[in-house]
């Protein structure tokens, strides 16, 4: 595709920009016990979440995160954007922006980024795949030369009400996310955001960008089976991955790195492992695989963009950070996943990032580092 990523940057509970990358490489964990973040709501809940520190529990949490993301991540070059596309899942569950991340982002931009506000047209909603899909859809638009420069902004928040739903659903881990671990019990939900500019060749020339990642292709699929649980056969998640490879014109052996969804729920990790084996076959053993939710949490509607950005950084640094939280590999999954505390060399400059969401949405994107 004629689509490139420039200025990718992410904000998480483990920091942002270079600080975030260093912390990931060092194997640090940005998760905190829920009872220290929401002491009134969860006085006895010690399970860990990726909450941004210093946020008020009385004001819109998404708005507070937007302020941090906007200040830390959106570069001056964003004034070259012709369109701003958002991605989120539900945002706040209480207050005037409950279930309305579009309204929240619009309000933030109008009051803080007035030059970008008129360019903001919509928010992509595909649950926890939203952040991946906004990249893919922006890639379509620049590839079709409808725009030359698009800013993609993915944000989501974990308020106490949302954590309550996930604790009740059983998707929140008892202790912390342990992706692909034999003792995994669930994910660690978190919050944060990412920003990147998606450009075509003309956009690259406009921006004079020199640190560039190519979007080779993407794939999407829907299980169409269950509103919360994934397709246990792994067929439709594998379909998204094979569609991404096919669209990229690449063979499985061309891929050097996989940033897995790796939520840490017992079923998701099992299904993802089946899907990866179906899509990659024996070549999977030669690829560095990791997951980052044990370090920064599951950033809900922002997770896809943030993890695609971490994929970019991993490819350009030629190292996959260790999978924080993973101590005892689930050998039945037979995945070449990096263990916490040990980064692994990436041998080829092409990576895949996967996300899966409620409603059975599956997304995969293939990225190449041109640096």
């Amino acid at each position: 595709m004629d689509a490139f990523i420039v200025h990718p940057n992410a904000f998480t509970s483990l920091g942002h920009s270079e600080n975030l990358w260093r912390n990931l490489l060092d194997g640090r964990c940005g998760l905190t016990a829920a009872n220290t973040i929401f002491p009134e709501f969860f006085p006895d809940n010690f399970s860990k979440i990726g909450a941004i520190s210093g946020l008020s529990t009385h004001d819109s949490r998404l708005m507070q995160i937007l302020h941090r993301v906007g200040y830390s991540l959106i570069p001056e070059e964003a004034n070259n954007c012709e369109l701003i596309l958002g991605a989120s899942s539900l945002g706040d569950l209480e207050g005037s922006f409950a279930g309305d991340p579009f309204g929240c982002i619009q309000h933030y931009l109008e009051n803080n980024k007035p030059t970008l506000a008129p360019l903001f047209n919509g928010v992509i909603s595909s649950a926890c795949s939203s952040g991946t899909d906004v990249l893919s859809l922006a890639a379509i638009m620049v590839h079709q030369q409808k725009y030359d420069v698009i800013g993609v902004l993915a944000v989501d928040c974990l308020d106490q009400g949302k954590l309550l739903q996930h604790v009740t659903l059983g998707t929140q881990a008892q202790d912390c996310a342990r992706p692909f671990d034999i003792n995994r019990t669930g994910t660690s939900f978190g919050e944060g955001g990412g920003f990147a500019m998606i450009v075509n060749e003309r956009g690259l020339k406009k921006l004079h960008a020199n640190h560039v990642f190519k979007i080779c292709g993407f794939g999407m699929s829907c299980d169409a089976k269950h509103i919360t649980a994934p397709d246990e056969t792994g067929e439709t998640p594998a379909l998204a991955i094979t569609r991404a490879l096919l669209a990229s014109g690449l063979a499985p052996a061309d891929v050097g790195y996989i940033n897995a969804h790796a939520s840490g729920t017992p079923l998701n990790d099992q299904v993802e492992s089946i899907a990866l084996h179906k899509a990659f076959g024996r070549t999977l053993g030669n690829i560095a695989v990791n997951g980052t939710k044990g370090a920064i949490g599951h950033l809900l509607g922002a997770t896809g963009l943030v993890e695609a950005i971490l994929t970019c950084w991993s490819l350009s640094n030629q190292h996959a950070p260790g999978t924080v939280g993973l101590e005892n590999k689930d050998e039945a999954l037979n995945l070449p996943v990096t263990v916490g505390g040990f980064s692994e060399k990436i041998l080829k400059p092409i990576g895949l990032s996967t996300t899966f969401g409620f409603g059975g949405v599956n997304s995969a994107i293939v990225i190449e580092s041109l640096n």
């Binding site: 569950l93 859809l137 999407m220 409620f358």
Partner: protein, 190 residues
């Protein structure tokens, strides 16, 4: 018109008492009203063009409000520290697309653009691309809005792709599609 065929339909309800769509019978029926409308609009569209392969159909929905009734139930529960996880997992705007995929048993892309008429042109661009680049190539694109009364309006288009490229899409075809879908926004109460 050489590369693509487009088919159009509209669906409306006089009020917000929306029945469970027949296509969800035997499946998860707990969709929010807006998601039910999206499914009913899809059902209506496919009655007009019944003989297409749905297995790789892409579902793209455009909607501004999301699942208000489900979210309100979740928000109200939180005030009393009561979870409402059943409504929560069915409260995202994506359910307008994923319930449609569930109803049709289709395995293409499924997502919702949250926005108003300003996003329509971009949504159409992506719908065309997906129709031509995923397997057998078809995209169902639907605009769902609350109308000026208590009911809903949904305008749909089924795009059948025939080649791997968009160069053959005529501006007339795109304009016709845009006009049909944008008519729903003219009835938008918001």
């Amino acid at each position: 018109m050489d590369n693509l065929n487009c088919f159009f339909s509209s669906y409306s309800t006089p009020d917000d008492k929306v029945p469970v769509p027949d296509l969800l019978k035997g499946k998860d029926k707990r969709a929010d009203t807006a998601a039910r409308i999206a499914v009913l609009a899809a059902s209506n569209m496919l009655q007009e063009k019944p003989n297409i392969d749905l297995t790789s159909l892409n579902v793209v929905v455009i909607n501004r409000e999301g699942c208000k009734s489900h979210i309100n139930k979740v928000s109200n529960g939180i005030k009393n520290h009561q979870p409402a996880q059943g409504f929560f997992v069915r409260g995202g705007p994506q359910t307008l697309a994923t319930y449609t995929a569930l109803a049709l048993d289709s395995h293409g892309a499924a997502f919702t653009f949250v926005g108003d008429k300003n996003i329509l042109s971009d949504a159409i661009t992506t719908a065309f691309y997906l129709a031509n680049n995923i397997d057998n190539g078809a995209t169902l694109i639907t605009v769902v809005v609350k109308n000026h009364g208590p009911g809903y309006q949904a305008n749909s288009a089924l795009i059948l792709g025939k080649s791997g490229h968009l160069e053959g899409v005529s501006s007339l075809e795109e304009k016709t599609l845009h006009n049909h879908l944008s008519q729903a926004f003219e009835l938008d109460a918001n």
